[in-house]
């Protein structure tokens, strides 16, 4: 069964008061992941198609053409996993 883990190589949780999650997509799946995310999330802004400012179910995040994304204002990793599952599956 396919899970969001199939697309995600690593999740880095930043330290500090306002935690951010940096999601690094698997190298061989990053284009698939970006395509799927761009299909589902609303693009607020795009810079040279390198960086996308997106929203999905009231969650704001930035997606990078290099295969990385940064999520903020989430309650925790469980919420992130739910968002990633909804975006990627």
């Amino acid at each position: 069964m396919v899970g969001f883990e199939d697309y995600v190589a690593r999740i880095e949780e930043t330290c500090g008061e306002e935690k951010e999650f940096v999601v690094i997509f698997r190298y061989d799946k990053k284009h698939d992941a970006i395509t799927k995310i761009l299909e589902k999330a609303a693009v607020k802004k795009s810079i040279s198609r390198i960086i996308f400012e997106l929203t999905f179910r009231n969650v704001s995040f930035r997606l990078y053409g290099t295969g990385k994304a940064i999520f903020r204002n989430l309650k925790g990793k469980d919420e992130l996993k739910k968002v990633l599952s909804a975006l990627l599956l």
Binding site: G16, V22, I47, Y64, T66, I70
Partner: protein, 411 residues
């Protein structure tokens, strides 16, 4: 003057392209890149000399032992220690500081004593002392940092007293690059009978460091930040201090004898000579060999040249980063009091956003707290972005970095 073209050719990784852009590596404060001389020394060791040290009489072991001991000697010369008995190989700066905390601190610190650190320390020079204070009950005091990131010597002088047993401070801040006046601190500390432990992780790779001239008691630094491999670092200690200290780890190599007494039913143990008393188990032999190659490389370049090159890069970067509207630089801008580290933030963007944006252009920089949260709290920062330079960086790379940094204005 550095022959920059020649130097850059020695670093194979600089040929890489990241995200279709030439690699620009501005994260040397986290770890440095390695020249082929170091890479080849490691390869050469495993191909020709690999054996355990101080264990056997066969030729390979003798050769490996000689190389490993030479590495200690070369480190001693590099920092002007008296000899290899004052040089203990450890995993890195963190382990060196923990060694002092647990080998010296556990034995010597009492409830009524005080340990004085500064607010600009890396967590590795805070956590071991705070941890140990919970066991031993002594007080950890903090010298303040001024708004520009320099050490507030007045609060340091107010905080030190006859109760202070050890002063622990970084030579160069890993966040701001500020160079602390270690000589001044050591003079005051010694007047109060306190030891001085210096975190040299950001100074030994970038400045000429002379332990005798600084008159410090203990110095910790890492090989991987000075062109050497990871997993090898150094604790320098004045011989008389190391002689009195109990070992940190127990096992092979660090003992002379372990004899079983049938009367008591226990073993009696005598410690090995310095520095081996503190190097239990099979050491990182190859790491030592790699570090020796790194030191030779730096000596050939010349530490005064390293310092001068980074100074020009830092000055140039500060001038041009100030051209970026939303960029705020922290710490002093006067390159006479700092090394090649510049922390900054971009208004409206998190540090990780900035780092990911620059990464898209092949520029590697650090974001976050840089393991120095108290200093960030002092600056009222949630996190910061940090660029740090080394001998292989160029003014052209800074031009490109500033050009990309200006593009963050599009966010």
């Amino acid at each position: 003057m550095l022959d920059l073209d020649k130097i850059r050719k020695d670093f194979p990784i600089l040929q890489r392209r990241i995200n279709d852009h030439p690699l620009i590596y501005f994260d040397s404060a986290a770890t440095s890149q390695k020249p082929r001389q170091v890479i080849e020394a490691i390869k050469d060791f495993y191909e020709k000399y690999n054996a355990n040290v101080h264990r056997a009489v066969h030729t390979l072991s003798q050769e490996a032992s000689e190389l490993y001991e030479n590495a200690h000697e070369e480190v001693a010369k590099f920092i002007n220690a008296k000899g290899m008995e004052e040089i203990i190989f450890v995993r890195g700066t963190t382990e060196a500081i923990n060694l002092v905390a647990y080998a010296w601190g556990l034995q010597n610190l009492k409830r009524e004593d005080e340990v004085l650190v500064t607010l600009m320390e890396h967590h590795s020079n805070i956590v071991p002392w705070e941890n140990l204070s919970r066991v031993k009950g002594f007080k950890v005091k903090y010298a303040e940092v001024n708004d520009d990131g320099t050490l507030n010597y007045e609060t340091f002088e107010n905080a030190i007293s006859d109760k202070t047993r050890i002063v622990c401070l970084s030579h160069v801040s890993n966040v701001t690059g500020v160079i602390n006046d270690v000589k001044r601190v050591a003079k005051i500390a010694h007047e109060y009978g306190s030891l001085v432990l210096v975190d040299g992780a950001q100074s030994v790779p970038h400045l000429p460091v002379d332990v005798k001239d600084l008159d410090i008691d203990l110095l910790a630094f890492s090989g991987h930040k000075m062109l050497g491999p990871t997993g090898i670092g150094v604790l320098y200690g004045r011989r008389e201090i190391l002689e009195e200290m109990e070992p940190f780890h127990g096992g092979g190599e660090m003992i002379k004898e372990v004899t079983f007494d049938t009367m008591t039913g226990r073993c009696s143990i005598s410690w090995n000579d310095l520095p081996w008393k503190f190097e239990a188990g099979t050491p990182n032999i190859c790491g030592g060999v790699g570090l020796m190659a790194a030191l030779k490389y730096l000596k050939d370049v010349g530490m005064e040249n390293v310092k001068a090159h980074e100074k020009t890069l830092t000055e140039y970067a500060i001038i041009h980063m100030q051209e970026c509207d939303r960029v705020k630089i922290y710490g002093p801008r006067d390159v006479r009091v700092k090394c090649g580290i510049i922390p900054f933030s971009v208004d409206g963007l998190s540090s990780h956003d900035v780092a990911l944006f620059l990464d898209s252009y092949g520029i590697m920089i650090r974001s976050g707290f840089h393991c120095a949260q108290p200093l960030h709290e002092k600056f009222k920062l949630k996190s910061s972005v940090r660029v740090s330079f080394y001998i292989y960086n160029t003014h052209e790379e800074i031009d490109r970095f500033v050009e990309v940094l200006k593009e963050t204005g599009q966010f």
